[in-house]
């Protein structure tokens, strides 16, 4: 399968130069590289510029609500764990509206891959501050600058017990593809927080801003097997911004500990011959 096979009749509607294009290409590359059958891949999308990708990728798609791509993805995985399940969202989606689902999916180690298009901005609503906007950044809703400090998705995922925590950059498409491949292969919850410049509304976190700062953790010999070190690395943001895998550990995925699907996925279990006689007798 070629990545182009995953195209749909609809072309992306993002602004020219948007960071989402490279993420889109990387996702198709990763699915093709892993030779996944598109009919056995489900992507659950949130709402925002990132969520609009539901029209441009030819797998099964579930375009949920703002902040909600994760719970349906978890539900899909639990009832049919033979499928590859990916969730796609933006920073407002994942860390604002859907913050609660995010932390609980981490600790549950649900075997889904969470691709967060993080442009430090609400863009489809034309430019308001997001949970990851830097302090002081002016936006339409914060003309005097954001008062809060930005949320740190990497540190949050680590605290919430995620088993695969990574950061990519949409300016490094090959590296991003590789991260997505590893994240999808990981058995358990994987976060790929993706730095994605919004060329229309974010005048601070631009492509040049990131090109000057990002470096590849793995190229510098960083081993993602130590949570304390990962926490320390997660704090690094300024002149140098690390991308790559911060942390990875082996832990049973949520569905693998569900006794009811030990033999076969729930969706393939027959509904014939359900017998509640014993249950009714217990109520006598």
């Amino acid at each position: 399968m070629k990545p182009e096979d995953l195209n749909t009749p609809h072309k992306p509607t993002w602004c020219p130069g948007c960071g989402n294009y490279a993420i889109w290409v990387a996702l198709k590359n990763a699915v093709a590289k892993l030779e996944l059958d598109p009919s056995r891949v489900v992507i659950s999308y949130g709402i925002g510029c990132s969520g609009n990708e539901n029209n441009f990728v030819g797998t099964y798609a579930f375009h949920s609500l703002h902040g909600r791509p994760v719970p349906p993805a978890n539900g899909i995985k639990m009832v049919n764990h033979e499928l590859t399940v990916i969730a796609v969202s933006g920073d407002g989606d994942a860390y604002g509206e859907g913050g609660n689902h995010f932390i609980h999916a981490c600790r549950g180690n649900h075997d889904i891959t969470y691709l967060v298009h993080n442009n430090e901005m609400y863009s489809l609503t034309t430019g308001q501050a997001s949970p990851t906007s830097q302090k002081g950044m002016p936006s339409k809703s914060t003309p005097e600058g954001v008062l809060e400090r930005p949320l740190n998705p990497i540190a949050l995922a680590l605290t919430a017990e995620a088993t695969f925590v990574a950061r990519g950059f949409s300016g490094k498409e090959e590296h991003l593809t590789d991260l997505m491949v590893k994240a999808i292969q990981h058995k358990g919850f994987s976060l790929v927080d993706i730095l994605q410049p919004c060329v229309t509304f974010n005048k601070l976190n631009t492509f040049p801003y990131f090109y000057e700062r990002v470096y590849d953790l793995q190229k510098e010999g960083y081993q993602p097997n130590d949570k304390e070190k990962a926490f320390k690395k997660a704090q690094e943001w300024g002149e140098r911004i690390p991308i790559g895998i911060f942390y990875q550990e082996k832990r049973p995925a949520y569905h693998s500990e569900l006794f009811s699907i030990k033999e076969k996925p729930l969706v393939r279990q027959s509904l014939a011959g359900i017998d509640i006689t014993k249950s009714m007798r217990e109520l006598v």
């Binding site: 899909i76 499928l83 689902h101 569900l258 014993k278």
Partner: protein, 587 residues
């Protein structure tokens, strides 16, 4: 009751005390012991929203024929503390019995002397301790004492104790039986039980369950092939979650407690989308959070069953009490216009079958279906014949097979079918790839803002409701076809009304009753037909604004101005319905 007449198998027993005294467990044991002797029961419990302290009550209405509600008059009261006497002395019937803690000097019974009742002081705690138990086990003493007084064979209580403590082992079983027996023997030896005019006598019958509306919903879900439930705890819906969790190994279910209600509903939608039957359950407050998810199911045409077990609102409201005030809320919940079905069962049996039907309707019409219950129905136990699993078969609706999909050149999930129902594929099926899209979408599911497409999609989705209306059962008219008074109600008020009708019948007043179970889409034709024939109509609802009344007006143009509304958090008693109607509608 006259001094010397004996009332057999017609009893209202009540036990009360602080939360943490084990009131609920012993009440259920009393109910089951009656049911095992072939008697019919309906129980009702009241408790505040806390774990220790407060006042808990549990009452069991016992009869030879099927009973559908509690009654207000108490014939045998078990008082574990002074509050029980103070709060319930006015509920005592003539010649009622009161069993109370003999050695608790704080229990003041002088107030009872005015009542024409019989007092049975029993050393409940001492008997528990003397027989090797703890003070809390005085409940078992009280159960034994109650059945001795009622002249009822001890073996039924013994068998219930054996089954209730089965998991705790023989030692615990033997101890509890011994303690209950001590209470039984104490009363037999110290009182002339023949003078107490209420008795229970076992009858021959096939075994009956003792279960709540919640358990009936959960059993209905299992029988309907529901394999997945995601929910967040909220009284009074939580027992559905508990029961399914207790049954997950027997029936291979996935039961997921989620981080919040938004997750619960959207996860259940994801599970349905992926091809299994899935549900969620909550009360009004939790459903407030789920509202956006309801719209998601509506827009993506994903089947979904939601059990909404009402409690009085708004906000936290009265967490452990009852009300029927969410009907309008469910009809209108979520932005935009899309179809949904609301089924409000009136009793335990209907809760079971309605849940099975809910899953069939959800898949057939690819839309959300509510089971709308309330605390009163959901948490009251009733004796019940075994359900017949064969009556309603699993019908999964238009699910495409792999072969069907392979024959299609280009699959359109949301094809403009004449019926409005476009066949579904599920993820994993080759050739079935589609976009389940919360945005307005074209026939493939791709986002579309085209005006004509939008209008056609709206017609397609909303049109399904017209077909639902043709299929759903009509409201049932209980009682004679011709009557002087016609009552109309929905959901759980059915129980007290059916019981009130027994009183009318006894007094030869011709009353009939239209019960609306399939509330939405609203069965306008049948309701209109009954109203046209009625001499006088009275609306009975457990809410403040007569929500069914407003639906009748909306869909039939008829205003029913006689209303009996109760919104104190308490259910109706049959006697108050009877009293109100006889007071207000004398010939």
């Amino acid at each position: 009751m006259k001094q010397n007449s004996i009332s057999i198998n017609n009893l209202n027993w009540k036990i009360a005390g602080e939360a943490g005294y084990g009131i609920k467990a012993s009440g259920l044991m009393f109910a089951k012991a009656c049911a095992r002797g072939g008697l019919q029961i309906f129980d009702y419990s009241e408790y505040p929203s806390l774990i220790r302290g407060g006042h808990n009550t549990y009452q069991v209405n016992v009869s030879e024929e099927e009973v559908f509600s509690p009654q207000s008059e108490v014939n045998l009261l078990v008082a574990l503390n002074q509050d029980t006497i103070d709060f319930h002395k006015d509920e005592l019937s003539n010649q009622a019995g009161v069993i109370y803690e003999q050695e608790d000097k704080k229990i003041e019974i002088t107030s009872l002397k005015k009542n024409n009742c019989q007092l049975f002081p029993v050393p409940l705690s001492r008997l528990a301790k003397e027989n090797g138990g703890k003070e809390i086990m005085r409940n078992s003493v009280a159960l034994g004492a109650s059945f001795a007084l009622l002249n009822y064979d001890f073996k039924y209580l013994q068998s219930v104790i054996q089954d209730s403590f089965q998991k705790k082992g023989k030692e615990v079983i033997d101890l509890n039986v011994k303690i209950a027996e001590a209470g039984f023997n104490y009363v037999s030896q110290n009182f002339d039980v023949a003078k107490y005019p209420y008795q229970l006598k076992h009858l021959k019958s096939s075994p009956r369950m003792v279960l709540t509306g919640n358990e009936a919903i959960a059993l209905g879900a299992i029988q309907a092939g529901c394999k997945f439930i995601s929910a967040y705890p909220m009284t009074p819906a939580t027992p559905i979650l508990h029961y399914l969790a207790s049954q997950q190994k027997n029936h291979n279910l996935i039961v997921k407690q989620t981080e919040d209600e938004i997750s619960a509903i959207t996860m259940a939608i994801g599970a349905n989308y992926a091809g299994v039957r899935a549900m969620t359950c909550t009360s009004g407050g939790g459903f407030s959070l789920m509202v956006e998810g309801l719209g998601l199911a509506g827009m993506t045409e994903t089947p979904l069953v939601i059990a909404e077990v009402q409690r009085p609102g708004p906000a936290t409201g009265l967490p452990t009490w009852t009300e029927q005030a969410d009907l309008r809320f469910l009809i209108h919940a979520a932005q935009g216009e899309f179809p949904r079905i609301i089924i409000a069962p009136g009793d335990v049996e209907e809760s079971f079958y309605a849940t099975q039907s809910a899953f069939n309707l959800a898949e057939k019409y690819q839309l959300p279906v509510f089971i709308l219950s309330d605390k009163f129905l959901a948490e009251s136990n009733k004796s019940q014949e075994f359900f017949d699993p064969k009556i309603i078969k699993i019908e999964r609706g238009a699910l495409l097979t792999n072969t069907q999909l392979q024959k299609m050149r280009k699959y359109r999930r949301y094809a403009f079918a004449k019926s409005g129902i476009s066949p579904r594929s599920i993820p994993g099926q080759k050739g079935g790839i589609f976009n389940a899209n919360s945005d307005e979408h074209d026939q493939f599911g791709y986002s579309s803002e085209d005006a004509e497409n939008r209008a056609r999609m709206m017609e397609k989705r909303l049109g399904k409701l017209d077909q639902v209306a043709l299929e759903i059962p009509d409201p049932i008219l209980y009682g004679p076809a011709k009557a002087d008074l016609t009552l109309i109600a929905w959901g759980s008020t059915k129980g007290p009304i059916i019981e009130a009708m027994k009183l009318f019948e006894k007094n030869r007043i011709r009353v009939n009753f239209l019960h609306v179970m399939y509330v939405y889409p609203f069965p306008a034709e049948k309701v209109k037909e009954v109203i046209r024939k009625a001499k006088k109509m009275v609306l009975i609802e457990n809410n403040a604004t007569a929500q069914l009344g407003s639906l009748i007006r909306e869909f039939t143009g008829i205003e029913i101005d006689r209303k009996l509304l109760k919104f104190s958090g308490r259910p109706f008693y049959p006697s108050e319905i009877y009293q109100y109607l006889t007071d207000n509608f004398k010939k």
